[in-house]
Amino acid sequence: MTKNIISIFASALFLFLLFLTEALFVSHQFEAFKTALHSLYYKIEDGSATTQDGESVRTLWRAQKNVLHVFIPHNDVVRMDYYLGEAVSYLYSGEYVLALAKAEVLVEICENLPATYKVSPENIF
């Protein structure tokens, strides 16, 4: 009985710490990336964005996604890779309107993705 109670508390604590780490880490990572994306978005909007800006955001994302893979489904990471790759490639070809559209999608994903991992009725059911 005592062993059972100890194991209940131990596993509950393990899960709680894991949830806390995930919540803090994932939201922090997305916040940082969102700030970089917003900056890129405004630069594309006023036509001052360079390929260097795009590459900087991509480098930041690559550093973050290595750890994010542990916490979020890999398909979501791949989705970010895809849109970011398109946005940067449009910057290389100088197609700012298309790059802006991709950056818009990325900002939208960044704002909504962390919410899909939160405990809420729509996510549970």
Binding site: N4, S11, L15, L18, V70, V119, N123
Partner: protein, 228 residues
């Protein structure tokens, strides 16, 4: 991952309720919650292992959640008597001194054919050779036999009437027709065929007869075919 925890808990509870509602035939040698864990744990281990798009940690969280729920249920099961019945059910006596307890049988979503099958599997083909038969809460079937030397030993009773319906093959093998048995049932207090929940007949012409309202009787049928 907290989402995985909540979803796992919800599915666990729903499965547990469904398994409890299904009755004892769905489980074998396990308590309902153990059966649910067996159902879930294999999938939880397999999916993150084979689907590389799911982080392995999701599988770990789900499995630890199942472990946590298991431990909680073990403690509750041990400490709260009422919850023991709610979670695991209770043994059901399906044969007692009056014969088949039809209400208990139905409560567990079992029918007379299941009972007869369980009896045969336990080595007691004749229903009148046992004093009590119990479906345990883990789905096991226990038989408490009557005293040794029962005259029905070694015979294989066949079901002639199963819950108000004739089993035509066994009826033909008995060498008697429906009218004969209906008349027999009438003489023994069952005016309608649907009142008879079970009538079996063995090679020696011995019949186990029970209606919904009366205790069982053993009837001797003359001139029955040996093949019955």
């Amino acid at each position: 991952m907290a989402l995985i925890f909540v979803r796992t808990t919800v599915i666990f509870i729903v499965l547990l309720i469904v398994i409890r509602l299904m009755g004892k035939r769905q489980i074998g040698e396990m308590q309902p919650f153990e059966f649910v864990i067996t159902l879930l744990i294999a999938e939880l281990a397999c999916i993150p292992m084979s689907d590389t798009s799911i982080p392995l940690l999701y599988g770990v969280v789900a499995i630890v959640t199942i472990y946590l729920l298991h431990q909680i249920i073990c403690v509750v099961d041990e400490k709260v008597r009422f919850m023991r019945t709610v979670l695991g059910g209770k043994p059901s006596i399906v044969i007692n001194a009056d014969g088949i307890d039809y209400a208990n049988l139905k409560r567990n979503n079992l029918d007379v054919a299941d009972l007869v099958e369980s009896m045969r599997e336990s080595g007691y083909p004749s229903l009148d050779s046992v004093a009590y038969a119990v479906y345990e809460s883990n789905g096991n079937f226990s038989v408490i036999p009557k005293k040794e030397g029962s005259e029905s030993a070694g015979t294989l009773p066949r079901i002639i009437v199963d819950e108000g319906q004739f089993e035509q093959d066994n009826l033909a093998a008995s060498g008697k027709d429906e009218a004969f048995f209906l008349d027999l049932f009438r003489q023994n207090g069952a005016n309608r065929l649907k009142d008879v929940i079970l009538f079996t007949l063995d090679e020696k012409g011995k019949g186990y007869f029970q209606t919904k309202t009366q205790p069982y009787r053993v009837l001797q049928i003359p001139d029955c075919k040996e093949s019955a």
